[in-house]
């Protein structure tokens, strides 16, 4: 099945509507990061250029939705990105960041942003945060109550 079709199935977003005005990219705070340009991704999806689509830059979308509220044809790019990611996870499993995040979720059922940052970025954050990092580290001991059902759900996702 073509990528465009899969995206449509998962997200309801029909990329064939795009007329390449580039208003999404003009609006996008991530545009240009590692060659990420939302309108170009849409084009690559249409042309079924898998390697280009799955280079990974679509994950730089911040889901700020400035593009989706402005897109003249009503396309929702973040939903497209989610669909792509769902496809990719099915095929290749979650990436490192997602893994760190999900494992935090499955262990504790809630996420401490500082803690995820630590596990994904290692000491870098600590160093940057300086002394305040210590305060953060103290918070890592904190825990919330966990619902069994939920834990199972997350575990399923992580195992793929």
């Amino acid at each position: 099945m073509s990528l465009a079709k899969r995206v449509l199935e998962i997200s309801g977003q029909d990329v064939t509507k795009c007329f390449q005005c580039a208003e999404c990219t003009s609006s996008c705070p991530s545009a240009g990061l590692d060659g990420f340009y939302p309108h170009r991704l849409i084009r690559a999806i249409l042309l079924d250029l898998r390697d280009e689509v799955f280079r990974g830059d679509y994950k730089l979308c911040m889901h700020c939705h400035l593009c989706s509220v402005r897109c003249p044809v009503g396309l929702n790019f973040p939903e497209v990105a989610i669909a792509l990611s769902n496809v990719e996870t099915k095929e290749r499993g979650p990436d490192n960041v997602e893994r760190a995040f999900i494992s935090e979720l499955s262990k504790r059922a809630f996420v401490n942003p500082a803690r995820v940052a630590l596990s994904a970025l290692g000491v870098r954050v600590l160093a940057l945060a300086g002394l305040r990092g210590l305060k953060l580290a103290g918070m890592l001991a904190e825990s919330g109550s966990v619902r069994e059902e939920y834990r199972r759900e997350v575990a399923r996702v992580v195992r793929g």
């Binding site: 889901h63 989706s68 996870t89 999900i102 979720l105 401490n112 942003p113 904190e142 619902r147």
Partner: protein, 252 residues
């Protein structure tokens, strides 16, 4: 103000780095006479990351949270949770929408016991405004937070980054860029003459407070509201911020 019970979903950062948000949110509901209970046994919303991994799983989380809320009005103060739960199909109201539209800014103004005459930059971030289907106000030119801030005596300033992204969602992938975004929010608020920024989201607050380079103090919107409704300064959790909040900000 009474009526339906509110089931308040704090979002997990409000249990860790953003505790003052949860505390003052509860204070505000309390002082406004809104019956509420805290949801403390539902999982993290999963954020966009979980949606990215598995849409279905994310929907399931929203379902669980809605179940836990039962018949009560599900309210959250975190825009990130709000967006994820909404997209997952849960019926959820953003705390700011609840305060601004259900309770009403006039009602809050009526209950103000002391004014907070500060030049403030009301910062919305993204998820409370966009996508369109989940917007609590105009997606690009909202006023609801300005109304609430005016209600407590503050003077809202207009600044370029008010509805832009805090950088949080790519913190783990491009930390330098994310931090630069957080800083640019604060810079733009400072350039517009604001003395502080108020946020309406756990993640936005974390980003601006922790990564904003200390350019301006960053408050949760509920802190000045709680203050104006009579909560003692010492109970606002000001010392728990990463960027110190000068107490003078609350001593006109």
């Amino acid at each position: 103000m009474s009526g339906d019970e509110v089931a308040y979903y704090p979002g997990c950062s409000a249990l860790t780095t953003e505790r003052p948000y949860l505390r003052t949110a509860e204070v505000v509901l309390e002082r406004l006479g809104v019956p509420h209970r805290l949801i403390d046994d539902a999982p993290c919303c999963g954020t966009v990351e979980l949606e990215m991994v598995d849409r279905q799983a994310s929907r399931r989380v929203a379902e669980i949270v809605a179940e836990v809320a039962g018949g009560a009005t599900l309210v959250t103060g975190c825009s990130g949770c709000y967006g994820t739960l909404r997209r997952g199909g849960a019926e959820v109201t953003h705390l700011i929408e609840f305060l601004g539209r259900r309770v009403g800014a006039e009602e809050i103004a009526r209950r103000v016991v002391r004014s907070w005459p500060v030049k403030v930059a009301p910062y919305y971030g993204c998820q409370a405004l966009r996508p369109r289907e989940q917007a609590i106000d105009d997606p690009e030119d909202p006023q609801i937070l300005e109304e609430l801030m005016s209600a407590v005596g503050a003077e809202p300033v207009d600044f370029r980054m008010r509805v832009k992204c805090c950088g949080g969602p790519i913190l783990l992938r491009r930390p330098e860029y994310a931090k630069q975004m957080a800083r640019s929010v604060l810079e733009s608020a400072r350039d517009a003459g604001a003395e502080c920024v108020v946020t309406i989201c756990n993640l936005c607050h974390f980003m601006l407070d922790f990564y904003g380079g200390g350019i301006l103090p960053v408050l949760h919107a509920t802190q000045p509201i709680a203050y104006a409704l009579g909560e003692p300064i010492d109970d606002l959790g000001l010392e728990e911020h990463f960027t110190p909040v000068p107490r003078g900000l609350f001593r006109p």
